[in-house]
């Protein structure tokens, strides 16, 4: 068989082609068990992008990107603000001090230095931003969470049930989308009464169809996938298929939408505050600070500028992270199309 010269040490004890005998492994080759011959797994250097599980690949990419860490840091700082505002604030955020109103940034009054100035009631702007992050982040995350849960559940339901149930869900989603935001928002706040919780509910009520449309599309697409058919073929009941196969397909797109929505929610809360229906005074939120401050844009620029800056940093971080997540999870970006 071999025509080469000289003595040769066989790499394989027996010819692997016979297939029915165990194969001795050489270095770098997978040992085999059982009676059937086996392909070695591709010898891939560790850390290679192609073969790592999705999660680890994601973290590796993330670790590599310094930009991403910058944005994560911003979010973490805001999160700390929201969790323990007292650690970061320099003054009581609610106490009005009328004689000390509209002080420029850096002014010291009554022993407190107002690094970002004071507002129209003499409250410390920095402290209000710190405390306001609680309301703003709560609203943003809670609204996104509620709308995301409601919306994607309905979307998945519409996509799996199809038929008239699906049609009704999707038509209702369309109906909600076709009512002007402010009408819906005002009516919700009017019916429920204004409060932080209701602002969240209101935003969730207005925004769920966005998730529904995405989840619906993803569900339909997932149902065409062969592994879903394969799961059905092994006898998986419908709920199992949804839980194990469809929902994991839907989630990345929903995450992408959610990151886009997160920043928007803060803006929406600002808009609600602009017409007086946002977070109730005197509790600070970035949105209400912005809308209160807008009247002073010509006289006391710091009132709206600093909460605006905080909002910008939040939106920027969330969006850039969203872009990053999307680039990693969902390069085709069907998510945005609805």
């Amino acid at each position: 068989m071999n025509t080469g010269t000289g003595p040769r040490k066989r790499l394989h004890a027996t010819s692997p082609q016979t297939g029915d005998l165990p194969v001795q492994a050489a270095d770098g080759v997978e040992p085999t068990m059982g009676s059937v011959s086996l392909e070695s797994s591709p010898a891939v250097p560790a850390g290679d992008a192609v073969t790592m599980p999705r999660g680890r690949r994601f973290w590796n990419k993330m670790r590599a990107s310094r930009r991403v860490w910058g944005f994560v840091a911003i979010l973490l700082v805001f999160l700390c603000f929201a969790l323990v505002p007292a650690l970061f604030s320099t003054a009581e955020p609610l106490r009005a001090d009328l004689p000390g109103r509209l002080l420029r940034p850096g002014t010291t009054s009554a022993g407190v230095t107002h690094w970002l100035g004071t507002d129209q009631l003499g409250r410390d702007v920095w402290s209000r931003i710190v405390y306001g992050s609680r309301a703003s982040l709560t609203i943003a995350f809670a609204a996104v969470f509620c709308a995301g849960i409601i919306g994607s559940t309905l979307g998945v339901a519409a996509g799996t049930l199809r038929g008239w149930v699906g049609a009704v869900i999707m038509r209702i989603a369309d109906m909600v989308l076709s009512v002007p935001f402010f009408l819906l928002a005002i009516l919700t706040v009017v019916v429920l009464g204004p409060s932080l919780v209701n602002v969240v509910l209101c935003l969730a009520l207005v925004r769920w169809p966005r998730y529904t449309r995405v989840a619906y599309g993803q569900t339909l697409e997932a149902q065409g996938r062969e592994f879903v058919r394969s799961a059905v073929a092994v006898g998986s009941p419908p709920l199992w298929v949804i839980r194990k196969h469809i929902i994991p397909e839907v989630i990345p797109a929903i995450i992408v939408v959610a990151t886009l929505e997160l920043g928007l929610m803060v803006l929406y809360e600002a808009s609600l505050s602009f017409i007086g229906l946002g977070v109730q005074p005197p509790a600070p939120s970035w949105g209400s600070m912005l809308s209160d401050g807008q009247q002073y844009i010509g006289t006391a620029w710091w009132l709206a500028t600093f909460p605006g800056l905080a909002l910008f940093l939040l939106v920027l971080s969330v969006n850039m992270l969203g872009d990053f997540v999307r680039d990693q999870l969902d390069p085709s970006e069907r998510a945005l199309r609805s």
């Binding site: 071999n2 025509t3 066989r10 082609q17 080759v29 392909e39 010898a43």
Partner: protein, 343 residues
């Protein structure tokens, strides 16, 4: 190149040895990654003469498409050439600026892609897509170009070409789409066609038709064809010469008849024998090759086939050179089968 004496070769085969060399790849190495950490092509050399059909054979990830893309200068951005030279009609490709390469593509060399459904712009009329190369490379008038396109479509067997020019790719069947791909590659009258698995996506009855058309039109023009495939049946059908690749290396290169009668590399040999034949007996196991094809750029050191090779020895942990074992028959193996397979 030393022996490019001839000008135009009118007739393909009869010109024999003296035929102009259209493509020469010398010592081409290509790697992926910023630090070239994954070398996907190792020292690949091959050459093509006018009118010749060379089959580049290999399984997924062996580097055959990468070779083709290197020739076209269309390597993906994450890949880059480490070493080597590629000349098409005497012009160097490696290191040539994109602006100049653009002039060669579509005029000196053309490419037929595997899946015409995705390789054609789905939203542009096929006539316009075929015409694009003419618009880019010639100064012909609209009418002249149109006439050329129609004539070529007719030649590749698209019925009613005048009317179908305006249609979009999805309005054609798979076979017709592939004919359009062929016309598109040929419209600029290139000396070299690279056909990357042009029939893999097609049914056997259609495949036969397409192979015939491809042979007919290229032979008539004396076009050299680098035919990439993994199907030994197709190789047998079209090729004059066969170059077998595995794990980014050229491991065997021979005349087509010899490849099938006396494959020298154990891989080529095993490949031919692991497929059921008319004489394979049901219930008797096929002689399978153990293991699996290495991922691109992840072939083991030494001979890339050694983990799967029954003949492998310690020597195989170093890469054997591509050497002539028979006249016009090169093989890269420490233990080549020189007299055909024993079984």
């Amino acid at each position: 190149m030393p022996e490019q004496a001839e000008g135009v070769v009118a007739d393909g085969r009869s010109a024999g040895e003296a035929r102009e060399e259209v493509l020469r790849v010398e010592g081409l190495s290509v790697a992926f990654g910023r630090a070239s950490e994954r070398v996907a092509l190792h020292d690949v050399s091959l050459s093509l003469r006018a009118g010749e059909v060379v089959a580049l054979v290999g399984e997924s990830g062996c580097g055959k498409s990468l070779t083709a893309l290197s020739v076209m200068g269309l390597l993906p951005p994450e890949a880059h050439v480490l070493a080597g030279s590629i000349t098409v009609c005497g012009k160097e490709i490696i290191g040539t600026p994109e602006r100049l390469l653009r002039r060669y593509r579509g005029s000196a060399m053309g490419m037929i892609f595997q899946d015409a459904m995705v390789a054609l712009n789905p939203l542009q009329a096929v006539g316009r897509q075929i015409d694009e190369a003419l618009r880019i490379h010639t100064n012909l008038g609209r009418g002249q170009r149109r006439d050329k396109v129609i004539a070529l479509l007719d030649a590749v067997g698209v019925p009613d070409p005048t009317n179908r020019l305006r249609q979009l790719p999805h309005q054609f069947s798979g076979g017709l789409r592939q004919r359009i791909m062929i016309a598109m590659a040929l419209i600029g009258e290139p000396r070299l066609i690279i056909a990357d698995e042009p029939t893999t996506a097609l049914d056997v009855t259609i495949q036969a038709q397409i192979l015939e058309v491809l042979k007919d039109v290229t032979q008539a023009r004396g076009t050299a064809v680098l035919f990439i495939t993994h199907d030994m049946g197709v190789v047998a059908e079209v090729a004059d010469r066969v170059v077998v690749m595995y794990g980014g290396h050229v491991i065997e290169s021979a005349d087509v008849v010899e490849t099938f009668s006396t494959p020298a590399h154990p891989y080529t040999d095993a490949l031919l024998h692991s497929v059921p034949r008319t004489d394979s007996v049901r219930g008797v196991d096929l002689p399978a090759i153990p293991g699996s094809v290495p991922a691109p750029g992840a072939a083991p050191a030494g001979c890339p086939f050694h983990p799967r090779c029954s003949d492998a020895t310690q020597e195989c942990l170093t890469m054997p050179p591509l050497e002539q074992v028979l006249p016009d028959h090169d093989v890269a193996c420490w233990h080549p089968h020189t007299s055909g397979r024993s079984r």
